[in-house]
Symmetry: C3
Subunit: 153 residues, 3 copies
Protein backbone atom coordinates (compact mmCIF):
# COMPACT_ATOMS: atom_id res chain seq x y z
CA UNK A 1 0.00 0.00 0.00
CA UNK A 2 3.07 2.24 0.16
CA UNK A 3 3.11 3.59 -3.34
CA UNK A 4 5.93 6.02 -2.69
CA UNK A 5 8.13 3.13 -1.61
CA UNK A 6 7.05 1.07 -4.62
CA UNK A 7 8.04 3.90 -6.93
CA UNK A 8 11.51 3.94 -5.41
CA UNK A 9 11.75 0.14 -5.51
CA UNK A 10 11.00 0.28 -9.25
CA UNK A 11 13.82 2.79 -9.70
CA UNK A 12 11.42 5.45 -10.89
CA UNK A 13 11.97 9.10 -10.07
CA UNK A 14 9.29 11.72 -10.45
CA UNK A 15 10.02 14.83 -12.48
CA UNK A 16 9.14 18.22 -11.09
CA UNK A 17 5.44 18.90 -11.56
CA UNK A 18 5.18 20.10 -15.15
CA UNK A 19 4.71 23.80 -15.82
CA UNK A 20 1.19 24.46 -17.07
CA UNK A 21 1.17 25.33 -20.76
CA UNK A 22 -1.87 27.60 -20.74
CA UNK A 23 -4.54 29.26 -18.66
CA UNK A 24 -5.44 26.29 -16.51
CA UNK A 25 -4.33 24.58 -13.32
CA UNK A 26 -2.67 21.17 -12.91
CA UNK A 27 -5.50 19.67 -10.85
CA UNK A 28 -8.90 20.33 -9.34
CA UNK A 29 -10.34 18.33 -6.47
CA UNK A 30 -14.10 17.92 -6.15
CA UNK A 31 -15.28 15.63 -3.37
CA UNK A 32 -12.88 12.70 -3.36
CA UNK A 33 -12.18 12.95 -7.08
CA UNK A 34 -9.01 14.56 -8.32
CA UNK A 35 -9.12 15.72 -11.94
CA UNK A 36 -5.63 16.04 -13.37
CA UNK A 37 -4.76 18.25 -16.29
CA UNK A 38 -3.47 16.56 -19.41
CA UNK A 39 0.25 15.83 -19.29
CA UNK A 40 2.64 15.51 -22.20
CA UNK A 41 6.02 13.83 -22.58
CA UNK A 42 8.25 16.52 -21.20
CA UNK A 43 10.63 15.70 -18.35
CA UNK A 44 11.68 18.56 -16.10
CA UNK A 45 10.87 20.97 -18.89
CA UNK A 46 12.53 19.12 -21.76
CA UNK A 47 10.39 17.45 -24.39
CA UNK A 48 11.35 13.79 -24.69
CA UNK A 49 9.14 12.62 -27.58
CA UNK A 50 7.63 14.80 -30.29
CA UNK A 51 6.07 14.10 -33.64
CA UNK A 52 3.56 11.57 -34.86
CA UNK A 53 3.53 7.81 -34.69
CA UNK A 54 3.79 6.67 -38.27
CA UNK A 55 6.25 9.44 -39.01
CA UNK A 56 8.88 10.54 -36.46
CA UNK A 57 7.82 7.97 -33.84
CA UNK A 58 7.00 4.27 -33.59
CA UNK A 59 4.61 2.38 -31.33
CA UNK A 60 7.62 1.46 -29.19
CA UNK A 61 8.96 4.99 -28.77
CA UNK A 62 5.43 6.29 -28.22
CA UNK A 63 5.02 3.73 -25.43
CA UNK A 64 8.00 5.43 -23.76
CA UNK A 65 6.35 8.80 -24.37
CA UNK A 66 3.26 7.57 -22.54
CA UNK A 67 5.41 6.52 -19.57
CA UNK A 68 6.77 10.06 -19.30
CA UNK A 69 3.23 11.43 -19.40
CA UNK A 70 2.32 9.06 -16.57
CA UNK A 71 5.27 10.23 -14.44
CA UNK A 72 4.17 13.84 -14.93
CA UNK A 73 0.64 12.94 -13.85
CA UNK A 74 2.08 11.25 -10.76
CA UNK A 75 4.10 14.39 -10.03
CA UNK A 76 0.86 16.38 -10.22
CA UNK A 77 -0.95 13.94 -7.92
CA UNK A 78 1.87 14.25 -5.40
CA UNK A 79 1.83 18.04 -5.66
CA UNK A 80 -1.94 18.02 -5.15
CA UNK A 81 -2.11 15.70 -2.18
CA UNK A 82 1.35 15.56 -0.63
CA UNK A 83 1.89 11.87 -1.28
CA UNK A 84 0.99 9.19 -3.81
CA UNK A 85 -0.19 7.20 -0.80
CA UNK A 86 -3.32 9.34 -0.74
CA UNK A 87 -4.59 7.67 -3.91
CA UNK A 88 -7.46 5.25 -3.31
CA UNK A 89 -8.16 4.23 -6.90
CA UNK A 90 -7.35 5.29 -10.43
CA UNK A 91 -10.64 5.90 -12.24
CA UNK A 92 -10.20 6.96 -15.86
CA UNK A 93 -7.29 7.51 -18.23
CA UNK A 94 -7.99 9.25 -21.53
CA UNK A 95 -5.03 8.72 -23.81
CA UNK A 96 -4.37 10.73 -26.94
CA UNK A 97 -1.72 9.54 -29.40
CA UNK A 98 -0.31 12.03 -31.91
CA UNK A 99 -0.47 9.89 -35.03
CA UNK A 100 -0.95 9.86 -38.76
CA UNK A 101 -4.50 9.53 -40.02
CA UNK A 102 -5.75 5.95 -39.79
CA UNK A 103 -3.50 4.89 -36.91
CA UNK A 104 -4.89 1.75 -35.24
CA UNK A 105 -2.55 0.99 -32.34
CA UNK A 106 -3.37 3.63 -29.74
CA UNK A 107 -3.99 0.98 -27.03
CA UNK A 108 -0.45 -0.40 -27.38
CA UNK A 109 0.90 3.14 -26.97
CA UNK A 110 -1.21 4.15 -23.97
CA UNK A 111 -0.24 0.89 -22.25
CA UNK A 112 2.99 2.73 -21.48
CA UNK A 113 1.05 4.85 -19.00
CA UNK A 114 -1.40 2.17 -17.87
CA UNK A 115 1.27 -0.40 -17.09
CA UNK A 116 3.27 2.11 -15.07
CA UNK A 117 0.19 2.91 -12.99
CA UNK A 118 -0.39 -0.82 -12.54
CA UNK A 119 3.19 -1.50 -11.41
CA UNK A 120 3.19 1.30 -8.85
CA UNK A 121 -0.36 1.06 -7.52
CA UNK A 122 -1.34 -2.58 -8.11
CA UNK A 123 -5.13 -2.98 -8.00
CA UNK A 124 -5.53 0.69 -7.09
CA UNK A 125 -3.86 1.56 -10.38
CA UNK A 126 -6.44 -0.26 -12.50
CA UNK A 127 -8.55 2.16 -14.49
CA UNK A 128 -11.12 2.48 -17.24
CA UNK A 129 -9.63 3.97 -20.38
CA UNK A 130 -10.18 5.42 -23.79
CA UNK A 131 -7.26 5.57 -26.23
CA UNK A 132 -7.55 7.44 -29.50
CA UNK A 133 -5.34 9.03 -32.13
CA UNK A 134 -5.35 12.83 -32.17
CA UNK A 135 -4.53 14.99 -35.17
CA UNK A 136 -2.05 16.90 -33.04
CA UNK A 137 -0.97 17.48 -29.44
CA UNK A 138 0.48 20.39 -27.45
CA UNK A 139 4.10 21.24 -28.40
CA UNK A 140 4.04 18.29 -30.77
CA UNK A 141 4.18 15.82 -27.89
CA UNK A 142 3.73 12.25 -29.09
CA UNK A 143 1.31 11.39 -26.28
CA UNK A 144 -0.99 13.23 -23.88
CA UNK A 145 -2.92 11.58 -21.06
CA UNK A 146 -5.68 13.01 -18.88
CA UNK A 147 -6.46 11.19 -15.65
CA UNK A 148 -9.09 11.08 -12.89
CA UNK A 149 -8.24 9.44 -9.56
CA UNK A 150 -10.23 8.88 -6.39
CA UNK A 151 -8.50 9.94 -3.19
CA UNK A 152 -8.74 8.44 0.29
CA UNK A 153 -11.22 10.69 2.05
Amino acid sequence: MNYEAKLTELGLKLPNPPAVAGSYVPYVRTGNLLYLAGTISSFNGELTHTGQVGQEQTVQTAYESAKICALNTLANIKAATGSLDNVKQFVLVTGFVNAVSGFTDSPAVINGASELFGKVFGDAGKHARAAVAAAGLPKGSTVEIQVIVELKS
Copy 2:
Protein backbone atom coordinates in the same frame (compact mmCIF):
# COMPACT_ATOMS: atom_id res chain seq x y z
CA MET B 1 -38.28 1.17 -15.54
CA ASN B 2 -37.38 -2.40 -16.50
CA TYR B 3 -34.54 -1.76 -18.91
CA GLU B 4 -33.68 -5.43 -19.29
CA ALA B 5 -37.23 -6.12 -20.47
CA LYS B 6 -37.12 -3.10 -22.77
CA LEU B 7 -33.95 -4.40 -24.38
CA THR B 8 -35.65 -7.71 -25.12
CA GLU B 9 -38.80 -5.96 -26.35
CA LEU B 10 -36.65 -4.03 -28.82
CA GLY B 11 -35.20 -7.30 -30.07
CA LEU B 12 -31.71 -6.32 -28.95
CA LYS B 13 -29.28 -8.88 -27.62
CA LEU B 14 -26.16 -7.93 -25.71
CA PRO B 15 -22.82 -9.29 -26.86
CA ASN B 16 -20.45 -10.81 -24.34
CA PRO B 17 -18.60 -8.08 -22.47
CA PRO B 18 -15.77 -7.10 -24.83
CA ALA B 19 -12.27 -8.32 -24.07
CA VAL B 20 -10.10 -5.45 -22.92
CA ALA B 21 -7.58 -4.46 -25.57
CA GLY B 22 -4.85 -3.22 -23.24
CA SER B 23 -3.72 -2.76 -19.67
CA TYR B 24 -6.97 -1.39 -18.30
CA VAL B 25 -10.27 -2.63 -16.86
CA PRO B 26 -13.75 -2.37 -18.41
CA TYR B 27 -15.18 -0.21 -15.62
CA VAL B 28 -14.41 1.55 -12.36
CA ARG B 29 -17.03 2.59 -9.85
CA THR B 30 -16.46 5.60 -7.63
CA GLY B 31 -19.35 6.59 -5.42
CA ASN B 32 -22.46 6.18 -7.54
CA LEU B 33 -20.64 6.92 -10.78
CA LEU B 34 -19.61 4.11 -13.09
CA TYR B 35 -16.86 5.01 -15.55
CA LEU B 36 -16.91 2.67 -18.52
CA ALA B 37 -13.89 2.00 -20.70
CA GLY B 38 -14.10 3.02 -24.31
CA THR B 39 -15.85 0.43 -26.49
CA ILE B 40 -15.36 -0.17 -30.20
CA SER B 41 -17.55 -1.82 -32.83
CA SER B 42 -16.63 -5.41 -32.25
CA PHE B 43 -19.39 -7.96 -31.56
CA ASN B 44 -18.42 -11.05 -29.59
CA GLY B 45 -14.84 -10.56 -30.67
CA GLU B 46 -15.45 -9.84 -34.36
CA LEU B 47 -14.92 -6.34 -35.69
CA THR B 48 -18.06 -5.15 -37.47
CA HIS B 49 -16.97 -1.75 -38.83
CA THR B 50 -13.42 -0.64 -39.51
CA GLY B 51 -11.91 2.21 -41.47
CA GLN B 52 -12.67 5.88 -41.73
CA VAL B 53 -15.85 7.72 -42.58
CA GLY B 54 -15.12 9.44 -45.85
CA GLN B 55 -13.17 6.43 -47.05
CA GLU B 56 -14.27 2.86 -46.21
CA GLN B 57 -17.36 3.96 -44.27
CA THR B 58 -20.30 6.37 -44.62
CA VAL B 59 -22.29 8.30 -42.03
CA GLN B 60 -24.96 5.60 -42.28
CA THR B 61 -22.63 2.64 -41.74
CA ALA B 62 -20.82 4.53 -38.99
CA TYR B 63 -24.18 5.08 -37.26
CA GLU B 64 -24.45 1.27 -37.15
CA SER B 65 -20.91 1.10 -35.80
CA ALA B 66 -21.92 3.44 -32.97
CA LYS B 67 -24.86 1.15 -32.12
CA ILE B 68 -22.47 -1.79 -31.70
CA CYS B 69 -20.27 0.35 -29.44
CA ALA B 70 -23.36 1.14 -27.37
CA LEU B 71 -24.28 -2.54 -27.01
CA ASN B 72 -20.75 -3.29 -25.79
CA THR B 73 -21.01 -0.50 -23.23
CA LEU B 74 -24.33 -1.96 -22.06
CA ALA B 75 -22.67 -5.38 -21.76
CA ASN B 76 -20.01 -3.78 -19.55
CA ILE B 77 -22.63 -2.02 -17.42
CA LYS B 78 -24.43 -5.33 -16.92
CA ALA B 79 -21.16 -7.09 -16.07
CA ALA B 80 -20.34 -4.34 -13.58
CA THR B 81 -23.66 -4.17 -11.79
CA GLY B 82 -25.52 -7.41 -12.54
CA SER B 83 -28.41 -5.72 -14.36
CA LEU B 84 -29.11 -2.73 -16.57
CA ASP B 85 -31.88 -1.97 -14.10
CA ASN B 86 -29.25 -0.61 -11.72
CA VAL B 87 -28.73 2.43 -13.95
CA LYS B 88 -30.17 5.63 -12.55
CA GLN B 89 -29.06 8.05 -15.26
CA PHE B 90 -26.69 8.23 -18.18
CA VAL B 91 -24.36 11.18 -17.61
CA LEU B 92 -21.85 11.70 -20.41
CA VAL B 93 -21.07 10.05 -23.73
CA THR B 94 -17.81 10.98 -25.45
CA GLY B 95 -17.99 9.82 -29.05
CA PHE B 96 -14.98 9.48 -31.32
CA VAL B 97 -15.51 8.95 -35.04
CA ASN B 98 -12.64 7.56 -37.11
CA ALA B 99 -12.83 9.93 -40.06
CA VAL B 100 -10.89 11.75 -42.72
CA SER B 101 -9.52 15.16 -41.83
CA GLY B 102 -12.22 17.83 -41.93
CA PHE B 103 -15.16 15.50 -41.21
CA THR B 104 -18.15 17.52 -39.98
CA ASP B 105 -20.88 14.96 -39.22
CA SER B 106 -19.73 13.30 -36.01
CA PRO B 107 -23.07 14.06 -34.26
CA ALA B 108 -25.06 12.11 -36.87
CA VAL B 109 -22.73 9.16 -36.34
CA ILE B 110 -22.76 9.16 -32.55
CA ASN B 111 -26.56 9.38 -32.62
CA GLY B 112 -26.36 5.65 -33.32
CA ALA B 113 -25.26 5.16 -29.71
CA SER B 114 -27.31 7.98 -28.19
CA GLU B 115 -30.58 6.86 -29.75
CA LEU B 116 -30.08 3.29 -28.60
CA PHE B 117 -29.56 4.51 -25.04
CA GLY B 118 -32.69 6.63 -25.38
CA LYS B 119 -34.81 3.76 -26.67
CA VAL B 120 -33.77 1.39 -23.91
CA PHE B 121 -33.60 3.77 -20.94
CA GLY B 122 -36.03 6.59 -21.84
CA ASP B 123 -35.32 9.70 -19.77
CA ALA B 124 -32.64 7.83 -17.84
CA GLY B 125 -30.80 7.35 -21.11
CA LYS B 126 -30.52 11.07 -21.83
CA HIS B 127 -26.94 12.27 -21.55
CA ALA B 128 -24.60 15.15 -22.20
CA ARG B 129 -22.28 14.45 -25.08
CA ALA B 130 -19.24 15.46 -27.06
CA ALA B 131 -18.76 14.03 -30.56
CA VAL B 132 -15.52 14.57 -32.45
CA ALA B 133 -13.57 13.06 -35.31
CA ALA B 134 -10.42 11.20 -34.29
CA ALA B 135 -7.39 10.61 -36.52
CA GLY B 136 -7.60 6.93 -35.71
CA LEU B 137 -9.18 4.42 -33.34
CA PRO B 138 -8.16 1.09 -31.79
CA LYS B 139 -8.04 -1.79 -34.30
CA GLY B 140 -9.28 0.62 -36.94
CA SER B 141 -12.78 0.65 -35.43
CA THR B 142 -15.00 3.21 -37.11
CA VAL B 143 -16.38 4.47 -33.78
CA GLU B 144 -15.39 4.45 -30.12
CA ILE B 145 -17.56 5.69 -27.28
CA GLN B 146 -16.68 6.30 -23.64
CA VAL B 147 -19.53 6.59 -21.17
CA ILE B 148 -20.23 7.64 -17.58
CA VAL B 149 -23.45 6.54 -15.88
CA GLU B 150 -24.89 7.16 -12.44
CA LEU B 151 -26.08 4.06 -10.60
CA LYS B 152 -28.94 3.68 -8.16
CA SER B 153 -27.25 3.79 -4.78
Copy 3:
Protein backbone atom coordinates in the same frame (compact mmCIF):
# COMPACT_ATOMS: atom_id res chain seq x y z
CA MET C 1 -18.73 36.33 -6.11
CA ASN C 2 -21.43 37.77 -8.34
CA TYR C 3 -20.54 36.17 -11.63
CA GLU C 4 -23.63 37.46 -13.40
CA ALA C 5 -22.59 41.02 -12.54
CA LYS C 6 -19.01 40.32 -13.59
CA LEU C 7 -20.21 39.10 -16.96
CA THR C 8 -22.08 42.36 -17.49
CA GLU C 9 -19.13 44.40 -16.23
CA LEU C 10 -16.95 42.71 -18.84
CA GLY C 11 -19.45 43.68 -21.53
CA LEU C 12 -20.19 40.05 -22.31
CA LYS C 13 -23.64 38.91 -23.33
CA LEU C 14 -24.70 35.29 -23.30
CA PRO C 15 -26.20 33.79 -26.44
CA ASN C 16 -29.37 31.76 -26.19
CA PRO C 17 -28.57 28.24 -25.02
CA PRO C 18 -27.43 26.44 -28.17
CA ALA C 19 -29.81 24.04 -29.86
CA VAL C 20 -28.63 20.47 -29.38
CA ALA C 21 -27.25 19.02 -32.59
CA GLY C 22 -28.15 15.41 -31.95
CA SER C 23 -29.83 12.92 -29.65
CA TYR C 24 -28.46 14.26 -26.41
CA VAL C 25 -29.23 16.89 -23.78
CA PRO C 26 -27.27 20.06 -22.98
CA TYR C 27 -26.43 19.05 -19.39
CA VAL C 28 -26.82 16.33 -16.80
CA ARG C 29 -26.44 16.91 -13.09
CA THR C 30 -25.22 14.12 -10.83
CA GLY C 31 -24.65 15.05 -7.21
CA ASN C 32 -23.05 18.48 -7.26
CA LEU C 33 -21.38 17.91 -10.62
CA LEU C 34 -22.85 19.39 -13.77
CA TYR C 35 -21.70 17.74 -16.98
CA LEU C 36 -22.16 20.06 -19.93
CA ALA C 37 -22.52 18.88 -23.49
CA GLY C 38 -19.82 19.91 -25.93
CA THR C 39 -20.38 23.39 -27.38
CA ILE C 40 -19.21 24.72 -30.71
CA SER C 41 -18.65 28.24 -32.01
CA SER C 42 -22.16 29.11 -33.05
CA PHE C 43 -23.78 32.26 -31.67
CA ASN C 44 -27.57 32.29 -31.51
CA GLY C 45 -27.67 29.68 -34.20
CA GLU C 46 -25.11 31.19 -36.56
CA LEU C 47 -21.72 29.54 -36.95
CA THR C 48 -18.97 32.07 -36.27
CA HIS C 49 -15.82 30.04 -37.02
CA THR C 50 -15.59 26.97 -39.22
CA GLY C 51 -12.72 25.13 -40.82
CA GLN C 52 -9.35 23.99 -39.60
CA VAL C 53 -6.50 25.88 -38.01
CA GLY C 54 -3.68 25.69 -40.51
CA GLN C 55 -6.14 26.15 -43.35
CA GLU C 56 -9.17 28.47 -43.05
CA GLN C 57 -8.33 29.58 -39.51
CA THR C 58 -5.35 30.79 -37.50
CA VAL C 59 -4.46 30.39 -33.83
CA GLN C 60 -5.80 33.92 -33.28
CA THR C 61 -9.17 33.38 -34.96
CA ALA C 62 -9.47 29.97 -33.30
CA TYR C 63 -8.91 31.66 -29.92
CA GLU C 64 -12.01 33.72 -30.71
CA SER C 65 -13.82 30.53 -31.68
CA ALA C 66 -13.00 29.07 -28.25
CA LYS C 67 -14.45 32.19 -26.58
CA ILE C 68 -17.76 31.63 -28.37
CA CYS C 69 -17.76 28.00 -27.25
CA ALA C 70 -17.23 29.20 -23.69
CA LEU C 71 -20.16 31.62 -23.91
CA ASN C 72 -22.38 28.79 -25.11
CA THR C 73 -21.28 26.63 -22.20
CA LEU C 74 -22.10 29.50 -19.83
CA ALA C 75 -25.54 29.79 -21.45
CA ASN C 76 -26.05 26.08 -20.76
CA ILE C 77 -24.92 26.44 -17.15
CA LYS C 78 -27.37 29.29 -16.67
CA ALA C 79 -30.16 27.30 -18.30
CA ALA C 80 -29.35 24.34 -16.05
CA THR C 81 -29.14 26.18 -12.74
CA GLY C 82 -30.90 29.52 -13.19
CA SER C 83 -27.80 31.62 -12.56
CA LEU C 84 -24.05 31.51 -13.07
CA ASP C 85 -23.83 32.37 -9.39
CA ASN C 86 -24.65 28.74 -8.60
CA VAL C 87 -21.20 27.67 -9.83
CA LYS C 88 -18.84 26.67 -7.04
CA GLN C 89 -15.83 25.62 -9.12
CA PHE C 90 -14.93 24.79 -12.69
CA VAL C 91 -13.44 21.30 -12.73
CA LEU C 92 -12.38 20.15 -16.19
CA VAL C 93 -12.31 21.62 -19.68
CA THR C 94 -11.64 19.28 -22.58
CA GLY C 95 -10.80 21.36 -25.63
CA PHE C 96 -10.82 20.05 -29.18
CA VAL C 97 -9.29 22.14 -31.95
CA ASN C 98 -10.24 21.38 -35.55
CA ALA C 99 -6.80 21.47 -37.11
CA VAL C 100 -4.55 20.06 -39.78
CA SER C 101 -2.56 16.96 -38.92
CA GLY C 102 0.45 17.77 -36.77
CA PHE C 103 -0.98 20.95 -35.20
CA THR C 104 0.95 21.81 -32.02
CA ASP C 105 -0.75 24.92 -30.59
CA SER C 106 -4.03 23.63 -29.15
CA PRO C 107 -3.29 25.17 -25.73
CA ALA C 108 -3.04 28.69 -27.21
CA VAL C 109 -6.41 28.15 -28.88
CA ILE C 110 -8.25 26.72 -25.90
CA ASN C 111 -6.95 29.61 -23.78
CA GLY C 112 -9.75 31.57 -25.46
CA ALA C 113 -12.22 29.60 -23.37
CA SER C 114 -10.06 29.20 -20.27
CA GLU C 115 -9.27 32.90 -19.97
CA LEU C 116 -12.91 33.86 -20.33
CA PHE C 117 -13.82 31.49 -17.49
CA GLY C 118 -11.00 33.00 -15.44
CA LYS C 119 -12.12 36.58 -16.05
CA VAL C 120 -15.73 35.89 -15.12
CA PHE C 121 -15.26 33.46 -12.23
CA GLY C 122 -11.81 34.29 -10.82
CA ASP C 123 -10.46 31.40 -8.73
CA ALA C 124 -13.72 29.51 -9.22
CA GLY C 125 -13.04 29.55 -12.95
CA LYS C 126 -9.70 27.75 -12.65
CA HIS C 127 -9.88 24.27 -14.10
CA ALA C 128 -7.86 21.25 -15.12
CA ARG C 129 -7.70 20.87 -18.87
CA ALA C 130 -6.76 18.75 -21.84
CA ALA C 131 -6.36 20.43 -25.23
CA VAL C 132 -5.92 18.36 -28.38
CA ALA C 133 -6.32 18.68 -32.13
CA ALA C 134 -9.27 16.77 -33.59
CA ALA C 135 -9.51 15.54 -37.18
CA GLY C 136 -12.91 17.23 -37.43
CA LEU C 137 -15.67 18.80 -35.37
CA PRO C 138 -19.46 19.08 -35.63
CA LYS C 139 -20.64 21.37 -38.45
CA GLY C 140 -17.00 22.15 -39.18
CA SER C 141 -16.72 24.28 -36.03
CA THR C 142 -13.14 25.37 -35.41
CA VAL C 143 -13.34 24.57 -31.69
CA GLU C 144 -15.45 22.41 -29.38
CA ILE C 145 -15.18 22.40 -25.59
CA GLN C 146 -16.72 20.02 -23.08
CA VAL C 147 -16.87 21.16 -19.47
CA ILE C 148 -17.58 19.82 -15.97
CA VAL C 149 -18.38 22.24 -13.14
CA GLU C 150 -19.14 21.75 -9.48
CA LEU C 151 -22.26 23.53 -8.22
CA LYS C 152 -22.95 25.01 -4.83
CA SER C 153 -24.97 22.34 -3.07
